[in-house]
Symmetry: C2
DNA sequence: TTACAATATTTGTATGTACAAATGTATAAA
DNA sequence: TTTATACATTTGTACATACAAATATTGTAA
């Protein structure tokens, strides 16, 4: 559906404003789909995001500021977000031995297993989300978004 | 910046997952910019969104379900969101005479004035947000996002 | 006309987020 | 060593959001 029909009052807008709204609106549509995959696992999108960052560390710990840097949503309460992951046994944390201000956060085996279960479900979801676009179009879309942020 | 560098752990991902993350990440970047414009006016992004929908009605009232349909963020508490706009004098509401279940919501003159003040600021912000893309690229981006959601 | 289902909105409750202030630790200067 | 400053995280508080249940109104069928 064209953004003009999805958001009725966009007709009169210029191309720049239309683009900004289109990005935000499309993101919400995508997020809704992703959340339906995560919901049965009682995992929020930011929590899932953090777990994937932790897995990406490949055994190395991450501290809170690293997580904040890499999170999609830079919500300031990474502490409490990690608390939730701890409580569910998907992450563990310890004080950094070389700098006791820092906290080292790791993903647990249980957390890794959860992601392993989620991977194919999420991949399938994402394929379905972008199924209306060809490979070339996906490349173009990524390049345009990268360029937009540059 | 390429999404691979913005989100470090994306390297190993397929094109579909990369695209999904890129959309969500880019949206957050854009939203942050929009919020910096709104913040001095103590207006949240969803509130701004509702005000623009109300203005788009051109004198006709909107009821809550219409607002929910058209909102970017379909957060279920449109009631409380509108409460905030009422309290600040930017919107008013009354019971629909023909169907007393419905609530008719209007933008006030004060609300219209606020938007009139915001329009050029937001337009300038949006131009700056998309300034790295040409007109043609913006058209392509919009078309690709529309196609993605179709 | 009464009873029942459908619609539109509101409220309650739990959880999540934003931002400022507080805590604890490290580094550097006097 | 003492003091000051910067850094990393945590906590407090207010506000926002999600979802379910409650309320009120309308339309419809017995």
């Amino acid at each position: 559906m064209k953004i003009e029909d999805a958001i009725k009052s966009i007709h009169s807008m210029g191309l720049t404003t239309k683009t900004v709204i289109n990005i935000m609106y499309s993101s919400r549509v995508v997020e809704e789909q992703v959340q339906t995959v995560l919901k049965p696992f009682e995992l929020s999108l930011p929590q899932y995001n953090v777990l994937r960052i932790l897995r990406g560390q490949r055994g190395n710990p991450a501290n809170l500021s690293t997580l904040q840097e890499r999170m999609i949503d830079k919500s300031s309460n990474t502490t409490r977000l990690v608390d939730k992951l701890l409580k569910k046994g998907w992450a563990k944390r310890q004080i950094c031995p070389s700098n006791r201000r820092k906290i080292e956060i790791f993903i647990t085996d249980q957390g890794l297993n959860l992601l392993t279960t989620l991977d194919p479900l999420m991949e399938q979801n994402n394929k379905s989300v972008v199924s209306t676009l060809s490979e070339t179009e996906l490349e173009t879309l990524n390049n345009l978004l990268d360029k937009l942020r540059s």
